[in-house]
């Protein structure tokens, strides 16, 4: 097992380039707490080393990663210099690594759930732009059930059911009626916005959801308490964060290690061939899309009854779309997508903390995750290959 993993590690110029990227990050890192070097010289030296490694990799023909290392080196020098110019007080306030990482996990969780849903749907050949709406339905019906039925477990169940229903509508239009999947998915977003907004106003009115709603509990790992760095991050996390981690592993297992996953992927790559060998394209696609709705809704329910413990109209605020970007950047693979979900989670966590620098610019930092998505989609897209039949309706013969 370990040998197999070692065999997959990058070698030669690729390894040099990846090392260069890490060295570039280190150039920034030395200027931050807890290292706190107050002079830019080390950052510049380390950054130049990163650029050199990148240049070597480019000369060996590793273009993309090599340039990544060069950019990381230049960025490391620039950001390191800025960090040495800003006051220690500000830095200590913003860069609290354990808190940043804990917040990263919180922000990444809804994205991870929705992204796993997106992977299933798209792997089966159905574009799911309605993830946003399915998340929103999950957020609302989750909190509604938790409030009226008094139990977060039922909240999660009802949320998954609501998301599944929305997905069923999308599936019916996309699969049976062969409608344009992007238009249909967008309609789901409109519908979810209308339904949740309508019921929210009708049931809760101006006061909003009550404060004493049954919440998804945190998992306390008391034996981690004393551990340096790991303790504060993992010691007290919401149950859903652990479930998200389990979902990612399960998604990978199901998609790539079971016959079911093979069927889903076959239907998404070449539905005609799958049909010929006796796989029901329609049934597989229905199942995948409904599952994606359930997963996205769980992500939404985490937002409403696990994270902020209230509901607002349109509270998902584009997270479903970011999840879609995560799916694309992650090359339709669970672990790579999870890595990107963490990246976006980190940028959201950072955006929450940066306002220490400037009150008025606080709102500007809110745009950070979206700008990052834009850059990531533009930069990564050439490398990611979608399932061959995604977005194409299949007509039985």
């Amino acid at each position: 097992m370990i040998e197999r993993l070692l065999a997959r590690l990058p070698r030669g110029p690729r390894a040099v380039a990846i090392g260069g990227i890490l060295v570039g990050l280190a150039a920034f890192w030395v200027a931050l707490p807890p290292v706190h070097l107050r002079t830019p010289v080390p950052s510049i030296l380390i950054g130049i080393a990163a650029i050199a490694l990148g240049a070597y990799a480019i000369s060996q023909g590793v273009q993309r990663l090599g340039w990544g290392a060069v950019v990381a080196g230049v960025g490391g020098i620039g950001l390191g210099y800025l960090a040495t110019r800003s006051s220690v007080g500000h830095l200590d306030q913003v860069v609290v690594w354990s808190a940043l990482f804990a917040a990263m996990l919180r922000y990444a969780t809804p994205l991870a759930f929705a992204a796993m849903g997106g992977i299933f749907s798209e792997r089966s050949g159905v574009t799911n732009i309605g993830l946003e709406g399915m998340m929103l339905s999950g957020a609302f019906f989750g909190i509604l059930a938790a409030d009226k039925l008094g139990s977060w477990v039922l909240g999660l169940l009802i949320a998954a059911l609501a998301g599944g229903l929305m997905a069923l509508i999308h599936a019916f239009f996309a699969i049976h009626l062969r409608a344009d999947q992007i238009v249909g998915g967008f309609a789901i977003n409109f519908l979810a916005l209308g339904i949740t907004g309508y019921l929210f106003i009708d049931l809760y009115g101006g006061e909003g959801t009550p404060p004493d709603i049954s919440e998804i509990p945190d998992v306390h790992l008391s034996f981690l308490k004393g551990w340096y760095f790991v303790g504060p991050i993992l010691g007290q996390l919401n149950l859903m964060i652990w479930l998200a981690a389990a979902t990612i592993v399960l998604s990978w297992l199901v998609l790539f290690k079971t016959p079911i996953g093979l069927r889903v992927r076959a239907v998404g790559e070449h539905p005609r061939a799958a049909d010929t060998v006796g796989i029901s394209v329609y049934r597989t696609r229905y199942a995948a899309v409904v599952l994606s709705g359930c997963l996205a809704a769980l992500g939404g329910a985490y937002l409403s009854i696990g994270f902020v413990n209230s509901f607002n109209q349109n509270m998902t605020a584009g997270r479903g779309f970011i999840a879609l970007a995560v799916v694309i950047c992650g090359n339709w693979r669970p672990f790579q997508a999870a890595a990107f979900a963490l990246l976006f989670g980190f940028s959201s966590a950072l955006a929450q903390r940066l306002p220490a620098y400037s009150e008025s610019a606080a709102v500007l930092f809110q745009a950070l995750p979206y700008v990052l998505t834009l850059i990531a989609v533009a930069g990564v897209i050439g490398r990611s290959i979608p399932p061959a039949a995604v977005g194409r309706p299949y007509k039985k013969q």
Partner: protein, 429 residues
């Protein structure tokens, strides 16, 4: 789509033979398309309102017709039904001629209709924005961001540069807003043309960028926040200068009368039609939209058309933002930025209007009436709570988009009826 002749349990049916001739579903739909393709949009709208009505019954137990009637009256469209013998002034002259409708603006219907037409203007323009990108095979969900970019630019230009003559000031502000929208959409077009980033994701992300940048600019302590005495505590821009406000040609300027931007929207419809149907650019755009590979083979630069089509699309949306600012809003506050959804309604307008100029015009009127008719100001709260009604509008929008994307639904429904009839016929035998 054609139905095989052997359908119906092996009994061969030849439509040209015998007395019980029934046209196939496909031929029926073909007739609808020959009739200008209005049948599907009409049925779609009807179906959406029907389901919306069911929602009203289910949640409030009230008669949906009363609600719809109240919305209709709130929109001011009943103005057209008060036909009589009146007079209208001819613009730029003193003479008056006979006119079937009462153009004096003190009736409620006239006031409401002015509101509807004010909303109609940006809906036409954002609808055209979405429709133009559609014709090039792209789904521009970024109408909202481009609208905001135009509005931000227009409020900035309109509230600064004192001393410019009114006409020049308006021109600069409108062109600036349109350009801002064009550049903003152009980014998405450029990314699609160069690295192949899907425009749906990039335009959505750009929406949020525009939203937060706007919130930053006009927020407390932001660089463009109101700098008058007493304005420091309000997250709002400076007011547009008086000379850069658009003229009101129907109604009282103090009561938000209808401004001349209305004619810009009408001109936009004409420009849209001419550009698409009578220019080389329009031909190339449509060719790329039909089949990019074939267009490339025919010597058309697909990348160039993607960027151009998005930029033109953004121009329409940016224009909508600029005209809204100069026509009736006059200032931009952060709350408006967060709650405005004009660009998103534009998507429904374009889809329902089938991306044609006339269709966009009609569906923009429908959605403008819905939006104004359900606004807090115009809907009688005794009949239906306006804050509920605005969400009902969203719901109807969603249903319209859902159904309009699926012509096959109509086929499907007819298919069910047909199969049921066949089954019935068989059991009778």
């Amino acid at each position: 789509m054609t139905e095989g002749p052997t359908e119906g349990g092996g009994k061969v049916e030849n439509p040209r033979q015998g007395g019980d001739y029934a046209p196939s579903v496909a031929s029926r739909v073909a007739i609808w398309h020959k009739a200008g393709g209005v049948a599907v949009p009409l049925l779609t709208t009807l179906l959406a309102f029907l389901i919306g009505g069911l929602v009203v019954i289910a949640t409030t137990g009230k008669n949906p017709l009363t609600t719809y009637k109240a919305i209709f009256q709130g929109s001011g469209l009943d103005w057209f039904f008060h036909v009589g013998s009146f007079e209208i002034g001819i613009p730029f002259t003193e003479s008056r001629v006979w006119f079937p409708w009462d153009t004096s603006f003190n009736s409620f219907a006239a006031l409401n209709l002015q509101q509807t037409l004010i909303v109609y203007v940006p809906l036409v323009l954002t609808g055209l924005a979405v429709a133009f990108a559609f014709r090039c095979g792209m789904f521009n969900i970024g109408g909202q961001g481009q609208y905001l970019a135009g509005a931000i630019m227009a409020v900035w230009i309109g509230s600064s540069l004192p001393g410019l003559p009114g006409f020049v000031h308006i021109l600069v502000a409108v062109v600036g807003g349109a350009l801002a929208g064009a550049v903003f959409a152009g980014i998405a077009g450029f990314l699609k043309a160069t690295v192949g980033a899907h425009e749906v994701i990039t335009t959505i992300m750009l929406n949020y960028v525009a939203l937060w940048v706007g919130a930053f600019l006009f927020g407390l302590g932001g660089p463009l926040q109101n700098d008058n005495v007493g304005g420091e505590s309000v997250p709002v821009s400076n007011d547009v200068l008086d000379e850069s406000k658009l003229n009101v040609f129907w109604g009282d300027p103090l009561l938000q009368g209808l401004h001349v931007g209305f004619f810009v929207a009408l001109a936009g419809l004409v420009v849209y039609w001419i550009t698409l149907n009578r220019t080389t650019l329009g031909y190339e755009v449509r060719a790329v939209g039909f089949n990019p590979e074939a267009a490339r083979y025919g010597g058309i630069s697909v990348a160039r058309n993607y960027v151009l089509a998005m930029a033109i699309s953004g121009t329409f949306a940016g224009l909508a933002g600029a005209i809204d600012i100069l026509g009736w809003q006059f200032r931009l506050n952060t709350n408006d930025i967060f709650t405005s959804g004009i660009g998103f309604v534009g998507i429904a307008v374009a889809l329902l209007g089938r991306n044609t100029a006339i269709g966009v015009s009609l569906s923009a009127l429908l959605f403008a009436a819905l939006l104004v008719g359900t606004s807090t100001r115009n809907l009688d709260p005794e009949i239906f709570r306006p804050e509920l009604a605005s969400n009902l509008t969203l719901l109807i929008q969603g249903l319209v988009v859902l159904f309009v994307g699926a012509d096959v639904l109509i086929l499907y429904l007819f298919g069910i009826r047909r199969r049921a009839r066949q089954r019935q016929a068989r059991t009778q035998e």
